[in-house]
Symmetry: C2
Subunit: 407 residues, 2 copies
């Protein structure tokens, strides 16, 4: 089969097919040849005719069944893939194709898994509903903080900052994405001390508190760390899903721990940032949801990171839209967040969101506890439809935050 | 500390520091602020002043110690990282920084691991020297083929094509990157049948032959498959290192199997292709070498993939240059290769290369065996400094290949 033979507008995708949407720019070939090259190289084709092709192979061909301008929709027969093997699926649909000379650029916009293919994966164990149950918070955004400075605090100071954040009003305390088990802050010490602080904060406040400790590591060490978290009464783990990789994430989810999986996406913008090339965040959400993360960073619109509102809305949609019965992933907004930005966040996210602020809490001039309280005030005000300026008149902690961060 | 405080041209990197080189374009900030933002966000800094900063944390700051135009060299104290935890290192130096609003684009060009940091990793078990010993080939390029069509052949036909390739002259037979254990070609069946074919090919030719079976999967399944390969007398495994991810690759290497690890980089071009943004291939080579792959795809210059000669030369250099005593990684050239391209390949690679041709062998009009022989002729001719046209006068198999692929 030649590249162009993989384009067939008469092909009707089957319910069991996996569908990918790509946008691309051809390089010295026609749009049709370029689209065919994507379908060929990601299924059974190659650049030259083969003497080893067998008639029975052809039923596995992917088809470009829609080509509108430079957007191609490609259907892949489910038999192309190994059941439950995400790296295998991605090596086809998000593999060599990005490097083809025939394409000046290529961007994967969406992966629609069929019900048959989803069966091979576990999906979120808890999802939005399960998380709300654990935290006993029915209808407001969850408020989290990342301990700052992001690296360097010893485990004792780390736990102290965590206690302050929880006692001020944070529901969640999270490690930074690059904290794991460094000499300055050993994983097990930090786990003990921070869970102790959690217990004390729960006593003091009467609220449920959770700690998302970062277990990112080589797979076996990561499982050892998850075991420790279970043993010590933790309910959450955090994983840097992209620097760890899909195999390890599947391994973690496969153990079916009674642990909520918080997924950080450090590194995504290396391939998501250029709108013409790479992989959009939406397919990453779809892949992570299929494997089974419960919470996922999806951007902020406001803050220090660069995604646009349409992109973030796409990501939120992928977290929550119907997906063969999988639970919904809780979207997380993180990166340069402070109380003034909360109304805009709620406008984008609605109530189902973890609002995570690091600097925007620990940078409050009166310290972490006051910073956490200010953040809760901002959430309360936004939910009540009261302007932050108005609310700050009776809530000096919020006033302090608004005076610190003016935009 | 403010972003600009992370720029310090008087800082002298220590031997133990990890050094990264980035190129970037600022977004509405100065070059210095942008460079400082990279160092800050990838070490201990954030976007706002903190009340939780402790004096003892400051010694962990990364420093931009050289800023020339839009190229920054940043030194990271080794204490920032967990020993032997590659995802942890990458979550810092190749993590959130790509998504910062302060940067229009950011590209990681190089990671120089210090000797102290390399100690946490295993490096290649075999490397070029070990591979040459196994294959008993001292001073010529290795000739490999990828079984084609890339997906769809059943295990019996797969093994038949493998036998033909080996008996024609291939040293190596490799699975395609998206073949794992699909229903049409079960992993264990394929392993048995193809290793049987290997044994027969060794008897017939008197040459050593190896089979690189693709074990890409969730980590535990990947280890099970590696065990099977060992049990059945295989000497090689193949892994799609980017779709699997670094945690799983570390897990595999940690077992210290008597297996050569062949690393495929499916998906790399999603972040390597744009010269202004993402991660260059060189740091990927450095990371994979530190963890311990033995062979790695590094581009072709010629063929169907898009990397330029300077890029491929960079990659080869990273495979082979001195790196704290680690063994050298064998570079692999793969993607649209056929006999006519061999002299150009040798000019780029020298003799230390696996020349892998799929379509360029199985597309030979007289079939796989003849195609393999033609490829060996091309290598012999190039090594002898005889033009292919000249050599083809007495080698009709090569003539057939040259007549099939004219450029």
């Amino acid at each position: 089969m030649k590249y162009v033979d993989f384009v067939d507008s008469t092909y009707k995708p089957k319910d069991s097919d996996l569908i990918c949407t790509f946008t691309f720019e051809p390089n010295d070939v026609t749009l049709k040849e370029a689209a065919g090259a994507i379908a060929a190289e990601s299924s059974i084709g190659t650049w030259t005719a083969l003497t080893t092709e067998k008639p029975y192979v052809l039923k596995l061909a992917a088809h470009v069944f829609r080509l509108e301008g430079n957007v191609a929709k490609i259907a892949y027969p489910k038999e192309l893939f190994e059941e439950g093997n995400m790296p295998n699926i991605l090596s086809s649909v998000a593999g060599n194709v990005f490097g083809l000379k025939a394409l000046r650029s290529l961007r994967l916009l969406d992966i629609e898994f069929s019900g048959d293919l989803i069966k091979g994966f576990r999906g979120p164990k808890y999802g939005i509903e399960g998380i709300r149950k654990i935290l006993k918070i029915k209808d407001r955004p969850l408020v989290g903080t990342i301990i700052k400075p992001k690296l360097g605090l010893n485990s004792e100071d780390h736990a102290k900052v965590a206690f302050d954040a929880w006692s001020g009003g944070c529901d969640i305390v999270k490690d930074d994405e690059n904290l794991s088990s460094q000499k300055f802050n050993d994983f097990e010490d930090r786990l003990h001390e921070t869970l102790d602080a959690r217990d004390r904060a729960q006593s003091v406040t009467g609220e449920k508190k959770v700690y998302m400790i970062n277990i990112t590591a080589e797979s076996e060490i990561m499982l050892d760390r998850a075991d420790l978290v279970v043993d010590h009464g933790g309910e959450y783990v955090m994983v840097d899903i992209l620097t760890c990789g899909w195999s390890a994430l599947q391994t973690l989810r496969k153990q079916d721990y009674k642990l909520v999986i918080h997924a950080h996406r450090a590194g995504h913008a290396a391939f998501t940032k250029n709108p013409l090339h790479g992989i959009a965040m939406r397919p990453i959400v779809e892949v992570a949801r299929a494997i089974g993360v419960d919470q996922l960073h999806v951007g902020t619109v406001v803050g220090k990171m660069s995604e646009t509102k349409p992109e973030v809305l796409e990501n939120i949609d992928a977290c929550k839209t119907e997906m063969h019965g999988l639970k919904q992933v809780m979207p997380v907004a993180s990166g340069g967040i402070h109380p003034r930005l909360v109304p805009a966040l709620l406008e984008t996210f609605g109530k189902d969101v973890v609002i995570q602020a690091g600097g925007g809490i620990h940078g409050h001039p009166d310290g972490t506890k006051t910073g956490a309280l200010a953040m809760r005030h901002a959430v309360d005000a936004a939910l009540k439809g009261i302007s932050l300026e108005e609310y700050a008149k009776t809530h000096p902690e919020l006033r302090g935050a608004l005076d610190t961060w003016k935009a």
